[in-house]
Symmetry: C2
Subunit: 255 residues, 2 copies
């Protein structure tokens, strides 16, 4: 099927560490020249799009904040469809800025939705208990992601998932997960693109969250052999990408 | 069936708040006079038996530490059957004293079992992450309890359960739960009594953790109408106590 739009993972696709993958910037330019609608999709829950865009610009990628889609943006789109309920944030970094930019001022009382991201050191007992009480008083739980852990510079570190799970267990409620690989994430990203799933390809380096998530939403899914890709990952997984390419620049031959 | 031994819940049975239930001290004396083997069973994970015993003595109950059975004591019995592995504690209060009294010195490296109690403010991100890394490096998880929450003086407060669940989710391992209503708790308490389940009665005020837990281990189970008992609790629950009595002192007519 023809590719009319793209969702492009950032880390591991456009760059690895702080280094552009071979030919990535030119490829991005080619996509722009052909007027192919796209969004960069990142699962980061600690940074606002403005911060991500500045980082990309520093690496030589001219990317606007509006071209980036994150779990916080997905949460905001969803909240807007719900009549903009009162939101409490259990997050860290400057992701609160994303909400403020969208006209949502986080609150600490009469909370209707508790938004949980990878809050790191903000996952104190007091903050967890505060969120717990809001949910027991009727608030819903929105999980920006539900990953188990990530590799921090000094070793494995707990992601948001375990703490989301703790709140779910304590309150007997289920969180709405809006980060990859949740269907809600891809649905809202496609809505932002304004294209049907079948005509859009997701390009990513993670066989599960990127490829599996996109395929189960009816999208095409292209795996790159950069970033966290390892030989054997496709034979070890039940997920079969639509296509596998060496790197983002090789997308050229598919457009 | 005859009652040859007793497991007696403390809070809500022997006393409510800081007040003895009517005739409780005399009833305890009568049990001693008849040489009926018993243990007080408490689900507290924040206090050592010595502290509990001091509190009971202050309230007018002459109870020795050795007559009390808690999840920490259950954990210690279990650890002893496993060749006394190296233990890391994620707890608060003086429950660490229970382990020290048993000759177990908690460690922070080469950990083989992580013991999780209701650690309250000790559930910091750093402490959670430390426990998580121990488990990822091969340690098991022992949960002193897996309750969802409790009623603190200033409102609902998260118990150990949500944090145990967070560790389980992060590591994809299951905790061994050694607090009520886990079968392991009752099994180890019966072992301490040296009596078969059918000949022992549990006396408690909680239809689920006390009564349901004891019945599913083959014990007799007597519900008291003190403490957290509320009218209607038995009709709302699938659990049917062996007997219901007004208070601990009424046990007299059953012995």
């Amino acid at each position: 099927m023809a590719i009319e739009g793209l969702l492009i993972d950032l880390d591991g696709v456009l760059y690895v560490g702080d280094k552009e993958t071979p030919g990535a910037a030119s490829m991005l330019e080619a996509i722009r020249e052909r007027d192919i609608p796209f969004r960069f999709v990142s699962n980061t829950t600690r940074k606002s799009r403005r911060t991500i865009s500045r980082k990309l610009q520093d690496m030589g990628f001219p990317v606007e904040a509006a071209e980036i889609f994150t779990p916080a943006v997905a949460a905001i789109s969803w909240l807007e469809t719900q009549g903009s309920p009162r939101v409490h944030l259990l997050t860290t970094g400057d992701v609160d800025q994303e909400f403020l930019d969208a006209g949502i001022s986080p609150v600490d009382h009469d909370v209707e939705q508790v938004v949980v991201g990878d809050a790191g050191g903000n996952f104190s007992y007091i903050r967890m208990n505060q969120a717990f009480r809001f949910v027991m008083d009727g608030a819903g739980i929105i999980a920006l992601e539900k990953d188990r852990y990530w590799m921090a510079p000094d070793g494995l570190a707990l992601s948001a998932g375990p703490f989301v799970n703790a709140l779910e267990y304590a309150t007997r409620k289920s969180a709405l997960v809006v980060g990859k690989p949740a269907p809600e994430f891809f649905r809202l990203a496609l809505e932002a693109l304004g294209l049907p799933a079948g005509n859009v390809a997701m390009i990513g380096d993670d066989i599960d969250t990127d490829i599996g998530g996109a395929l189960s939403c009816g999208m095409q899914a292209i795996l790159v052999r950069t970033g966290k890709f390892r030989p054997g990952v496709t034979s070890a997984s039940p997920v079969t990408p639509t296509e596998i390419i060496d790197n983002f620049a090789q997308l050229e031959r598919m457009l």
